[in-house]
Symmetry: C2
Subunit: 412 residues, 2 copies
């Protein structure tokens, strides 16, 4: 049975961004029941919402994909840090949840997540010691993390419990000029040897992240095959029957499925996270569904920002109340979708563009033929999900008619 997470009870009050709730405080559930429609309910601009149909589509798509291709799935929870969304991902069949930091591991454990992959090196002995103890406290807790150096192995070994359940290590491979991870097979094997020799540690397999690989599909495929050979060599050297082989990202999971789908020599574990919200920018351009039969519409941008035009001081430009505090811009600015007038009429935002963001202002270039006035609303898709969620501690979920059906809290 799927685990039931403990989703903390949070409240909406005067301090909740995007919400106009001047009197007292209500729980998120009460809020969702009372909020009604996005344009008549207790909201203030700017606001970010999750669109329920698109969210459901995205979670369903990767669930079907990983099941169809025989890949275990630990979606990266750092994307949303929202236990209500992680619950949906687990309900859809995810094996576990991926974390990026020790702190996220601790937060997941507070939600009751059973299986966690820390897709990162971990050098903090305080955290490692706590995790080792937690493994002994809770036989249902499963944990994997990375090492790519002698220091990483030594830090874990220094606090591991040789008489308890072991800390299970994935040796990370990286690419030259890339991020973390050993750069060659000799490096992978040396770290694997060190793990295997350390009491209290268990060599569980290998991991990598194909995101920083340059050179397109062929280079990604070569990286994936290198990882599989790594896995085979450490399996042979250390007597592993079916080592974990974990890769992640939201741009190449089609190749992961081609290379590892249904593998018996390795246990392939996918860690994609951004798919849960998808976007109108980076992953719209790079999703593997461009190459798959389902087509790029298999995923849809589920996050939507709404902002009000506050000033139209010059022809051809407008200022919206939306800034870096509310919108991310690491992979391009938010992408205008629709203009909504005070009378409720809607117009396509074709040609409208954000040119710059301040903390709380967006500079819009307005194309000829589109008139914007102070008081108009503009909706935006986002350019990249992973840096959008972290600007909002409460996110209303709306249905296709813009009626609030839920409100989710994030923990960044």
């Amino acid at each position: 049975m799927t685990e039931r997470l403990t989703i903390p009870e949070e409240h909406v009050d005067r301090r909740t961004k995007g919400v106009w709730w001047p009197d007292g405080s209500v729980t998120l559930d009460e809020f969702a029941q009372q909020a009604g429609n996005l344009f008549t309910g207790p909201f203030t601009w700017p606001l970010m919402v999750l669109r329920e149909p698109e969210l459901t589509r995205n979670i369903g798509a990767l669930s079907a994909f990983t099941e169809q291709h025989g890949l275990a799935f630990a979606p990266h929870g750092k994307t949303s840090m929202a236990p209500a969304l992680i619950q949906r991902q687990l309900d859809a069949g995810a094996w576990g949840v991926t974390a990026a930091t020790a702190n996220q591991v601790l937060a997941y454990r507070s939600f009751g997540v059973r299986r966690i992959v820390l897709a990162n090196e971990l050098l903090e002995t305080r955290a490692l010691a706590w995790i080792a103890a937690e493994l002994n406290r809770d036989p249902g807790f499963e944990f994997l993390f990375y090492a790519d150096s002698a220091e990483g192995v030594a830090a874990a070994a220094s606090v591991a419990d040789p008489d308890g359940r072991p800390l299970r290590v994935l040796v990370e491979r990286g690419v030259p000029g890339g991020r973390t991870g050993c750069r060659d097979r000799a490096g992978v094997l040396a770290v694997a040897d060190a793990v295997a020799a350390a009491p209290g540690l268990e060599l569980a397999g290998v991991a990598g992240y194909e995101g920083p690989v340059t050179g397109g599909a062929d280079a990604v495929r070569a990286f994936l095959r290198d990882l599989r050979t790594d896995a085979a060599e450490i399996a042979r050297a250390h007597g592993l029957e079916r080592p974990v082989l974990s890769v992640g990202g939201s741009a190449w999971f089609d190749l992961v499925a081609e290379e590892f789908g249904g593998a018996r020599d390795v246990w392939p574990l996918l860690r994609s996270g951004a798919y849960v919200a998808h976007d109108d920018g980076l992953y719209r351009r790079t999703t593997p569904y461009r190459r798959l039969d389902e087509g790029p519409g298999a995923l849809a941008g589920a996050l939507e920002l709404w902002a009000q035009i506050t000033s139209t001081p010059e022809d051809g430009s407008a200022i919206a109340g939306l800034g870096r505090r509310e919108a991310n811009y690491d992979a391009g600015f938010p992408v205008p979708r629709t203009v909504r007038r005070p009378d409720g009429s809607r117009h396509p935002a074709e040609g409208l563009e954000i040119e710059a963001l301040n903390d709380h202002h967006a500079y819009l270039r307005v194309p000829p033929g589109l008139e914007l006035h102070p008081g108009d609303l503009v909706s935006f898709g986002i350019s990249h999900p992973c840096t959008a969620f972290d600007r909002w501690s409460v996110i209303p979920v709306v249905d296709a008619e813009d009626t609030v059906v839920e409100a989710v809290a994030t923990y960044f």
Copy 2:
């Protein structure tokens, strides 16, 4: 007497970023009493701290500056959104607090802030109506906001209470190619006329933001003088005795003091906010103290990030556990300060540079002669305060010996 804000009681628990608090939950005060030293206490990396001596220096500097020059001061609270820091600014003599959004106004009111300048247009009738009612409910509440359009005036007039305390409006002037604000005197006077003619609104003065002015000191001075002439003309046209003249920013307050310090024809109100934390980047380069007798050391970067080196996979580079989730980069990457080895020894981080950030990773270029190893810690100053605070909901305050003396909560 200075107002005492209501500082909400918040807690530290498993979900608190930067803190390793696995068992139960404690209030921020209890946490601060128990936390001890940054390097032996209950922390996990990365972590952002406020340094107490620098924080005190910064708040003292602008307090002295505004008092010495006869400027009223409403520091921009959007910088920190931390009531504990806003309390310090009020204790140091600030007249009020500046906000950027209606939502921030509501949050400030929940903290009990008495005088608020919304340095922005406000078109939301729900918020305007609530503010009008709040003015009638609380005779001690003072509120100023901007208009730069007929739509802005009409929105306020549509919900103003002609029989109650008026909504007080500052007409905003902007610069061509800039942000919000009327582009010329005719525009300013037209909006002023509309405000003066609207029952329930009161024309209070003019405002502008010299930040987007290009062309250096002469252009800023010309902008400030335009504003003063605006103020004189609306004062004459509408019989105002001493209109408010509000300007803001942290790059030109020396010119503001030269132009408006001790003015009797206008009531000069400064809105600088970034000074509270200052930085090692944008404002280190642009602070007015470079031109003032006190010298640039009058302000000091009070925010400091600490991150751990997690991987050193290639010569000349290193990966630290610090990313876009924890560090801002809108005005440059965080600036390395010090390397701290596991044995407690410290080395200057001279020549070390961040080249890129992912969500939870920093790519460091390591200069020849500096060796970094997994497990080392690196401290960073920040490049711009306004986008640094919003990544942390709890920020420990440490003294010169890195001992925790307080923990402050932010509300973004």
